[in-house]
Amino acid sequence: MEHLHPWFIAAAFGVSAVLLVADAVLPRFKFQSILRGILLRERRPSNPERPAP
């Protein structure tokens, strides 16, 4: 079993790295999508908050 130890270590650190990256990146995407949602709502012609041209 000892010859497999480096693979176990690589798996543990690899999985942790993937989860940490997902934790850092996914909220960033959500933030960008909320900003895009706000912009789309602003551009909609029926938007009552939109200033008159």
Binding site: P6, I9, S16, L19, L20, P27, F31, L39, E42
Partner: protein
């Protein structure tokens, strides 16, 4: 009004909160990544192998800090939830709800890396041991807080329900911590006692663990600020400051 209270109220207002999180989040992530890289490098390449476990003991340099952080975040989330429920401070509601996914992520890392360590050391991927089971319960409690927050349509009611579950669930933290003392456990006991600052680990093997532990705390802060910023924008998306922010991001 004293300066601290004034700062607290000002930072709690949504536009200020957004600027505050945007300013401090990169610093927290930057520090966390730097400490994590140095600590991991030390743990993998500079520290000698354990005389009993061999090379596989190096997994503890990510497993132990993740476990400590999972417990720490649950306590922090419960404190934020308590403040949110008692004093009805909206920013604390946001912080408590934003803590749950970060805690769940650290609990998942703890369970997965523990399982990977368990296979060569104990000869099994999983055992219904008190420490492992109570950590799994903690992971499910984190998922419960996230699910409850997403299940209720009224945002304030959802946040309050999630805060209540966080407050009740904190009972599990001492169970996780003391499980190795209260029951006959396969999991090893404490090597490092935080309260008495004692360690049975030699300093030559301890320093990377201290760095990765500090790194996970900064990671929590960075991720908390980032997630709180998302929730803040989501709740305030109709406000002029949010529309100005969206217009500025084009």
């Amino acid at each position: 009004m004293n300066a601290l209270l004034l700062w607290f109220h000002r930072t709690g207002s949504p536009p200020h909160f957004d600027r505050f999180t945007a300013r401090w989040m990169p610093w927290c992530f930057g520090l966390a990544i730097a400490l994590l890289l140095i600590g991991t490098w030390g743990g993998l390449f500079m520290v000698p192998a354990d005389y009993k476990q061999g090379e596989v003991f190096r997994i503890l340099y990510i497993h132990v800090p993740a476990a400590w952080s999972a417990m720490f975040i649950f306590v922090a989330m419960a404190v934020q939830a308590f403040i949110a429920l008692v004093w009805r401070i909206k920013a604390c509601e946001t912080l408590a709800v934003a803590s749950a996914p970060v805690g769940a992520m650290f609990a998942a890392i703890t369970l997965i890396t523990g399982s990977i360590w368990g296979r060569p050391t104990w000869g099994t991927w999983w055992e219904w041991d008190p420490r492992l089971t109570s950590m799994l319960v903690m992971f499910f409690l984190y998922l419960g807080v996230i699910a409850l927050h997403n299940a209720i349509e009224d945002r304030r009611a959802a946040a309050r329900a999630a805060c209540f579950l966080a407050l009740v669930g904190v009972v599990n933290v001492p169970i996780v911590h003391f499980s190795v003392h209260w029951w006959n456990s396969l999991h090893q006991g404490e090597t490092i006692q935080i309260l008495s600052a004692e360690s049975r680990m030699h300093y030559s093997m301890l320093w990377p663990l201290l760095l990765t532990t500090l790194a996970t705390k900064f990671w929590y802060l960075g991720s908390l600020l980032q997630r709180a910023r998302v929730l803040n924008l989501e709740n305030e998306s109709a406000q002029p400051w949010a529309r100005a922010l969206a217009a500025g991001s084009r």
